[in-house]
């Protein structure tokens, strides 16, 4: 059952080959058997999962089911789940039982989907390796000595190990696409505002975007159908008419103009990853696409720009953790300032503290123009690069990450080197455009991800291109040896 596509699972449920309860039990058993090896779940919700599966089976029997009714999924532990611990990977929220559901969680529930549990993640989504989690690092199922990427590393590893067929993630600078690449799965970051941020714990509000993760573009399109949509409760939600993201999957790629930015194939790219990309590019040519060299002249500034904008927004967003209304509180505070400082000092990890402090510095009196305003101006230049590029090409292609998965511990104490693993993904968040990472091969048994970036609201086109590639290749069907 764990090797089936969502369409196959859905068909089997509707034809009563097996029930959602049986399907859910199957995945819960796999989680029980394998989770200790990769640590991809923070919370496993077996009881509520079986209750939802039972309800889904009734819905199917009554003929009131949709394509995702009875299908299991895992939510990144950044999405609030009513009555269930929502930790965001932090000691700060280790005791936080969310009093309400995120819109994404509500929408998945409404479709009759079955939540298996909450996945591990970098603390407050700040990290690219899943090592900053209070609950310990997640391990990459392809090689448990290596990281799964981050911050949605728990979701990516869960899918790669086939402990759930689908998962949600969030992407602020690459947190869906980079772990998808390192774990050999498919992950989509939608256009900013397409998926509601309500109940998704805030990191950098002008960059944060939720999205679907799964094995294939087709699976991910089905989940996006459910996740996307206008939400009154999110002040930056896009009022965009609902689309069926599966409707263009089978379109031909003949005449598709693919842009290859020379900056994504520059110094820093592992030559072996480059070779995998070259082979993949030929596949697209054979499918009828044409290749065009393009330039994104400001893309080298995306990492420095991001490391002002994201910390500035995070320093503001995380000021809510004050030890007063919810979350961690220190013992015996001597006064209010001591309560704030020690609660935050004791409960935030090193990376979160670094980012809050950088943001605090950049926003402090006298520095605002030199840092935050300057970063917002360069953000405009980076975004304009894409506007120019999309006048010439339909889609931009490159490696999701310049390397394959790195060893656990290798970059943990070197923030800059860690930040550079997102060098190809960050620009899309700054511009707000959609991007997808799909598996394109292996280097030394470690997966390589290929990234496609599209213009605003071109999710259907990206999914179509990814699906056509997946019709011609089987990288997305590979399973790590210890998780067959």
């Amino acid at each position: 059952m764990h090797n089936k596509t969502i369409a196959e699972l859905s068909k089997a449920l509707h034809q009563r080959e097996y029930s959602s309860v049986e399907l859910t039990r199957h995945f819960l058993e796999r989680i029980e058997r394998h989770n200790a090896k990769i640590n991809s779940f923070i919370t496993i919700t077996a009881e509520t999962a079986l209750a939802s599966a039972q309800a889904a089976d009734q819905r199917i029997a009554q003929g009131k089911a949709g394509p995702l009714t009875g299908i299991p999924l895992a939510h990144k532990d950044i999405f609030c789940t009513k009555g269930i611990k929502t930790s965001c990977g932090s000691k700060m929220l280790d005791n936080f039982i969310a009093p309400y559901n995120a819109t994404v969680v509500e929408k998945c529930q409404a479709a009759g989907m079955v939540m298996l549990g909450k996945t591990n993640m970098d603390e407050f989504a700040m990290g690219s390796s899943n090592e900053t989690s209070y609950y310990g690092p997640v391990k990459n199922p392809w090689d448990t000595q290596t990281v799964p990427g981050g911050s949605s590393g728990g979701s990516a590893a869960t899918i790669a190990a086939r402990l759930s067929p689908l998962a949600t993630g969030t992407d602020t600078g690459g947190s869906i696409r980079q772990p998808a690449a390192l774990c050999g799965i498919t992950g989509l970051k939608p256009t900013y505002g397409l998926v509601s941020r309500y109940g998704m714990i805030a990191f950098a509000s002008s960059l944060d975007q939720g999205g679907p993760m799964g094995h294939s573009a087709e699976d991910v399109a089905l989940l996006l159908n459910q996740m996307a949509g206008f939400d009154q409760r999110d002040s930056t939600s896009l009022n965009h008419p609902a689309e069926d993201y599966t409707s263009h999957l089978n379109d031909s790629l003949a005449g598709l103009k693919i842009g290859l930015p020379k900056e994504f194939f520059a110094e820093g790219l592992d030559p072996e990853v480059g070779k995998v990309l070259d082979t993949a590019i030929k596949e697209f040519e054979q499918a009828g696409a044409t290749l065009h060299e393009i330039q994104l002249p400001h893309s080298h500034l995306s990492v420095p720009t991001y490391y002002i904008i994201a910390p500035a927004e995070c320093s503001s967003n995380l000021s809510r953790y004050d030890g007063v209304r919810f979350g961690y509180r220190c013992e015996n505070p001597k006064d209010l300032i001591d309560l704030y400082k020690r609660s935050r000092g004791e409960a935030f990890g090193a990376e979160v503290k670094r980012r809050i402090m950088i943001g605090t510095y950049a926003l402090s009196a006298g520095y605002y123009d030199a840092y935050y305003l300057k970063a917002q101006q360069i953000r405009r230049l980076i975004s304009n690069d894409f506007v120019e590029a999309f006048k010439k090409v339909d889609v931009i292609l490159g490696p999701t990450s310049p390397t394959t998965a790195f060893k656990i511990g290798e970059k943990l104490n070197d923030p800059i080197s860690m930040y550079l693993s997102d060098i190809n993904t960050i620009a899309a968040n700054l511009a707000g455009i959609p991007g997808i990472s799909i598996p394109a091969g292996f280097v030394n048994q470690r997966p390589v991800g290929l990234q496609l970036l599209g213009n605003y609201l071109n999710e259907s086109r990206l999914l179509n291109i990814a699906h056509q590639y997946q019709q011609r290749t089987d990288w997305h069907k590979q399973t790590p040896a210890n998780f067959v």
């Binding site: 009093p99 500034l301 420095p304 919810f326 001597k334 503290k353 670094r354 840092y371």
Partner: protein, 95 residues
């Protein structure tokens, strides 16, 4: 760019984060590295460029001034560290 130790202590205070004395040298080093990375922004002239605050340049949406949320004080206070009589408790602020 290299931040002095006192500057890091000041930033930590502004951010309301207590740091262990022995960790301060590492934070000083890391924050200096990050600010050095960020200095690359100065390689571009941005005179006259309109800052981009939001990817889609959206403006705040208005809604009708009607009550849409119900009072859930008990539920929200059930997850608070310390409450009494419907109030959040903190150390004494005014003597």
């Amino acid at each position: 760019m290299s931040l002095p130790k006192e500057e890091v202590e000041k930033i930590a205070h502004l951010a309301r984060i207590s740091l262990n004395e022995q960790d301060i040298p590492l934070y000083t080093h890391n924050l200096s590295d990050i600010l050095t990375l960020v200095e690359q922004m100065n390689s571009v002239d941005t005179k006259g460029i309109t800052p981009m605050a939001h990817p889609l340049d959206a403006t705040a949406r208005l809604r009708a001034d009607i009550v849409s949320e119900s009072n859930q004080r008990e539920l929200f206070q059930s997850i608070a560290p310390q409450t009494e009589g419907g109030l959040y408790l903190v150390p004494k602020v005014i003597e």
